[in-house]
Symmetry: D2
Subunit: 333 residues, 4 copies
C-alpha cells in the first residue's frame, strides 16, 4: 500500500486538535483528579459539565467532562477550523464525501459542525471559543503537572490506512508511522496540522475507540511532579505506564487513568515539523523494539480504551493488516 | 494609529523564522562559544562558514557564521516559504510593492529569494534546505543549553508601524505589542506565522539593526545550565541580561553576546497562539513596568545591536513616536 | 596570621545551624512573603510570633518571626547542641571563656542557652525542639521555592580572624575562606559542623550584623520558581541579587529582601565535606573575580544588613584588614 | 524484639559510607556504562582497576572496579573513620568483639582496616584517601546523571536484627525501619552516621549479599536524564526499576544493572536527620503498600544480588522473621 499524500492547499483550514468531550460518573472525583492532582484549570462548571483548560490556553476548554449515569464514553473529539468560512467549506467537503455533517449548538463554542470520520470517529469542528485568561505566568494558580495545552488524540481503528488517507485528504501531514518490516501496511500513523508531530494518531485495533488524549507539560521534571502529585493525592495507582521515553515521537511520557477509566497522556519534548522537505519518518518493528527505556506498561494499557458514544467497535478486518495494537506492542514489550 | 490587520489568506505562505547569517572574525572562537559552551550542533563547516542547527532541527542550518575581515555584521535574516510556488508568489508580490526581489544561490538551501523589507531589513526566503538528522533523543550529542531550534528575531527599526503593516500584509499575525499609555503608537510588535508569539519582533530604535536572534531551550533549568556552561567555558562575562522573566511574551530568558558582539537570546516558555479569536495583547508602559522579576540588564543591552551589511541605520523620525527602545526600557528599568 | 585549627574532639557537640529569630512589623505581610510566595511551612502562630520550617524539617522551627513595634532586628541566631549534656558542657566552656551564658525558656524548644560569641553575635543553643511532620513527599503542601531546611547564616563582623578562631575552638571546621592575594588576613570564612560547606559564615564589615540566613531548595529549577512565585505574588522587586552562581561555595543562589528588609538566600548545590584530609579552600581576590556568572547585585546588597537586638555595630579596626565586604566585593563586581 | 539503641559517644568515629569494591569482567564495558552513560569521573586506572568518583567528591574513589576472570562479586564495602586514632580504636573494638581485624595496604587509601561485620559482610575502614579536585562546577566535565557522591549501601542479610544491633553498637542511628504489622521483627533497617537517612541499609534475605550501592544526583530531572543517557548509549534495558518514588526514605529513584549485573541506585531527595529528638520512623506492611507511585520492578530486582568474595550466603533462619525481601515486596507489588 502507498503512503497517502497530503492535500495542499487543504480543502478547508484545520488548525489543531482542540478538545475532547468525555462522560464521567462523578464530577467531584474528576475534579480531584484533573484539577487538584494534575493541575487543570476550571473555566466553568455548569449544566452538569466541567470545562477544563491547560495553564496556557486562552480557549475556554480543551477537556469537557459531562456527568452521566451511563457507562463512561468519549462523546466527541474536537478539532479547530480557522475561520467560519472554513467551517462552511468543511460541511460542503464532508457532504460531497457522503459524510453527513450538521451544525449544532455547543456551550462556550462558536458554530460547531458534527461529523464522523471515515472510520466512524465522532468529530466536532469549531472556529472559535469563548476566551479565558492565559495563566502562563500566574504561577500562584499552577498545580501538579501544570498541563499547558491539549496536543493530540490517539484513536484505535480497524483500518488505519483508511484513516490516514482521510486525514491526508483534509490536509493533515503524516509525520511518523509504524509498519511491519518489509511492508507498507500502516499500523500506527501520526498526523498533524499544527506543526509538531501529532494532532491525531491512529493505531490498529478494535475501534474506533479513544486510546488517550495527550497534554503537554512545560519541563521534563513536571512528568515526575505529576506522578508525585498523583501519589500525594491518592491517585498513585492510576499511573498505568511510564515515566518512559517513546521511540516514535520521542516524547517523555506518563499515562494515567482517570477515575472513570479514561486515559490521559502527559508528555514533554516536542519537535517542530513544518517544512516541505520533512518526509514521514518510518519505524519498523525492529526499530520500535529499540525503545529508549522504560518498564513495561500495565497490561490494560494495551487492552482498554474509551468507547465513543453509540459507536460499536469493529475488529480490524483488513487481511493484509491483521495485527492489533496489543499484539504488536506485546511483541515489542 | 490603527493596529494593522493580517491578510488572510496570505499572498504567499511564509511558515516560520528560518535562519540568520552573521559575519564573525574567528570561526574557532565562534565554535567554542556556540558549540562547546551553548551546545549548537555543527552541520557543516565549509567555504569559510560554519553552519549550525539546534538539537531538534532537521533543516541544515538555523545559524550561519561566515568568516570576515570586516567589522561583524548580520548579512540577512532568513524566513521559510512553504513551497517553491510560494517563493514565486513572493517574488511577484514584492515586485508589485516596488521591493526588488531576486533569486540567488545559497549553499545548502533550495532556491533563495533576496529582498529587503519596508524598513530596509535584508531578508532571504527559501522553501527547503538539505536535511540533517534530528538529535532530539541523541542525548550523547547534547551539550550546554541544548538549543532546540530558532524561534524568532528582534530588529530595531525607526518605523515600527510601517514594519508591522508590512508583515501583516504578508499574513503575519500580531500577537502582542507595546504602546505608550493612551496611544496606539506601536513601539514593540511581536509578529508570528508559526503559531507561537513570535517569528519576528520589531522595536523602536535606530535601525534596521539586529537586536538578537532567539533560540528555545527544552526546560527552564537549561537556562541556568547555559549560564553555568558559559561560566565553565570562560564566557561568564558574555551574559548580558538575565536570567529573568519577560512581561510581554512571558519568556524566561538569558541574553548572551557572542565573541563578535552579536546577541543571542535563549529562552523557555512558549505559548500556542493559532485561533482566530486571539486578539493582539496590548502592553502599555505601566504594565511593562510590572515586569515579573529580574535584575537590570547591562547598559549595552539597550544600546548595542548588530548592523546589517551595507545598511546605514536611520534614527526614528516619526513625530508621534519619538521614544527609542533605550529610552523606553530605561524608564522601565 | 595563621589559619586557626579545629578543636577535636570538640568541647561540646554542636551539630548544625538551627534557627534564626527576626522581628517584623506585620506578621501578615511576612506570611504572604515567606509562606504564600516562598513556600515556608507554618508550625505555629502564637504569642505574636510565627514559627516557620522548611518542607523537610521535623524540628518545630528554623525561622521565627516576632511582631514588634520597633525597627526590625535579628534577635538571635540558633545553633543545635546534640544532647542536654552538651548544653551543660557548653555553659561551662563559655563561662571559662568569660562569656556569660544562661539558660532561658524559649517556646517550642528544650532548655535554651543564651550567650554572645566573641564578636558579639547573640546566639542561642538548644538540644531539642518539638517535633512536626516532615513534608518531604506531601507534595500537595509544597509551594513556591519549596525551601527544604535552614543551612547557614552569614554575619558581618569587624574581626573575622577572631570569629574564626572562636568557632574553630568550638570544633567548627573551616571549609573555605577568602583572603587578599599574598596575605592570610581572613576576610570571609565558611565554618561548618554538619558536613557541608557552611553553618555560619563571617565576612568583614561593620558588625556584628546579620547579612542573611540561607535555606536550601531541592532542585536548580526551584531557584527560578522562587523568582517566578515572588513575581507572581507581587514580590518581584524583592529580588536583590541573582539568580547567579557563587565562586566560593559553588552555590546557585537568589537573594531576597523580606517585607522588613531582612535578607534571605535561597540556594542549591551542596557538597559534602567531612573527611580529615579536606583542607580549607583558599580563594584570593583574583580568583573571586573569576566568579562563574551573574549580573551585579543591587547596591544595597553590599551595604545593608539586619542589626542584632541591642548590639551596636563596630567598624573593622584591625589595621591589617582594612577592607570591608562592600569595598571588597565592589572591586570584584 | 526491641529496637537497639545507638551507642553515644560511639566507640570510634565512623563518618560515612565511603566506597565499594566490585569485580568486573571487562573494564571497557564498565567504563562505557559508568562513565560515558552515567557520568562517573575517572580518578585513576591502574593495576587492572578503575577508580571512580562522583562529580563533587574530593576523595580519590567511591567506586572501585577490578578486572577479574571469575564471576563478578563485591569484594568489600568501605566506611570512613574520622582519624587514624579512630582506626586504632576500631581495631581494638572489633577484636574485643571476637571479629578479627587487620590492617592492609589499599591503593590510594590511608591505613585500611579489614573486618567482617556480625552477619559476615566484608568491610574496610580507612581515615583518608588521596585528594582529587571536586568537579561541582566544572560543568564541561559533567555527563549523564551527574552522580554527586556515594550515599549508601543496601545489604541482604539473614539476620537483620543482629546487623542492626551491631551497627547501633558502632554509633549508627536507626532512621527508618520496616516491620510486619503488630511485631517488632526488623525486616528492613536504615542506619546512618552522616546525618541523612542512610549509610547502610539491611534487608532480610539470603546473604550477606550486596543488593545495591546508591549514589545521589543533583536534581530530580537527572533521574530522567540518567535514563535518557542510558538509552542513548545502548543501556536502556539495564534499567531494572523506576523511575519511581520510595515510601521509606522518600527517594525518587532509578535502579540500573551494570554490565556485570551489579546493581546501582541513582536517587534524589535527601533529608537531614541529626537531632536527638528524631525517633526511628516505623513502616509496617500496610504503610509500605501505600507506596507513592511507580510501576513494578523487573522480577530479578527482588531475586538477584551481588555475592561477596568468598562469602557463602545463608538463608534467613530466625523463626520469627521468615519473610525474605522478595516475598515481602512481592506482596507489596
Amino acid at each position: 500500500m502507498a503512503i497517502p499524500r497530503s492535500a495542499y492547499p487543504a480543502p478547508f483550514n484545520t488548525t489543531r486538535a482542540s478538545h475532547v468531550v468525555l462522560t464521567v460518573g462523578d464530577l467531584g472525583a474528576s475534579r480531584a483528579f484533573y484539577c487538584d492532582a494534575l493541575g487543570f484549570v476550571i473555566s466553568d462548571e455548569d449544566g452538569g459539565a466541567l470545562y477544563l483548560r491547560g495553564i496556557e490556553e486562552a480557549c475556554h476548554h480543551s477537556l469537557v467532562l459531562k456527568r452521566s449515569g451511563e457507562a463512561p464514553v468519549c462523546e466527541r473529539i474536537g478539532l479547530r477550523a480557522y475561520t467560519e468560512d472554513d467551517l462552511d467549506r468543511a460541511q460542503h467537503y464532508f457532504e460531497r464525501a457522503d459524510l453527513p455533517a450538521s451544525f449544532v449548538d455547543a456551550p462556550h463554542q462558536g458554530r460547531t459542525l458534527h461529523v464522523c470520520d471515515v472510520v466512524g470517529t465522532p468529530l466536532e469542528f469549531c472556529a472559535s471559543m469563548a476566551v479565558r485568561p492565559r495563566l502562563v505566568v500566574q504561577f500562584r494558580e499552577h498545580r501538579g503537572a501544570c498541563p499547558q495545552r491539549i496536543d493530540h488524540f490517539q484513536v484505535l481503528a480497524p483500518d488505519v490506512q483508511a484513516a490516514c488517507a482521510f486525514y491526508c485528504g483534509l490536509g493533515f501531514r503524516l509525520s511518523e508511522f509504524i509498519a511491519p518490516d518489509g511492508t507498507d501496511d500502516l499500523m500506527f500513523v501520526f498526523l498533524q496540522r499544527k506543526g509538531n508531530p501529532h494532532d491525531i494518531v491512529f493505531a490498529s485495533g478494535a475501534g474506533p475507540r479513544l486510546h488517550h488524549a495527550a497534554f503537554s507539560v512545560p519541563d521534563a521534571a513536571h512528568i515526575l511532579h505529576a506522578c508525585d502529585m498523583a501519589g500525594s493525592c491518592g491517585f498513585g495507582a492510576n499511573l498505568e505506564y511510564g515515566p518512559g521515553r517513546h521511540g516514535p515521537g520521542h516524547a517523555l511520557f506518563a499515562y494515567f487513568r482517570d477515575p472513570d477509566g479514561h486515559r490521559l497522556e502527559l508528555f514533554n519534548t516536542h519537535y517542530q515539523v513544518m517544512d516541505i522537505e520533512n518526509e514521514p519518518v518510518r519505524w519498523n518493528l525492529s526499530a520500535m523494539r529499540q525503545r529508549s527505556w522504560g518498564l513495561p506498561p500495565r497490561r490494560k494499557w494495551y487492552q482498554e480504551a474509551s468507547r465513543f458514544l453509540d459507536v460499536e467497535p469493529r475488529e480490524p478486518a483488513h487481511k493484509a493488516n491483521p495485527m492489533t495494537l496489543e499484539k504488536f506492542l506485546a511483541e515489542e514489550g
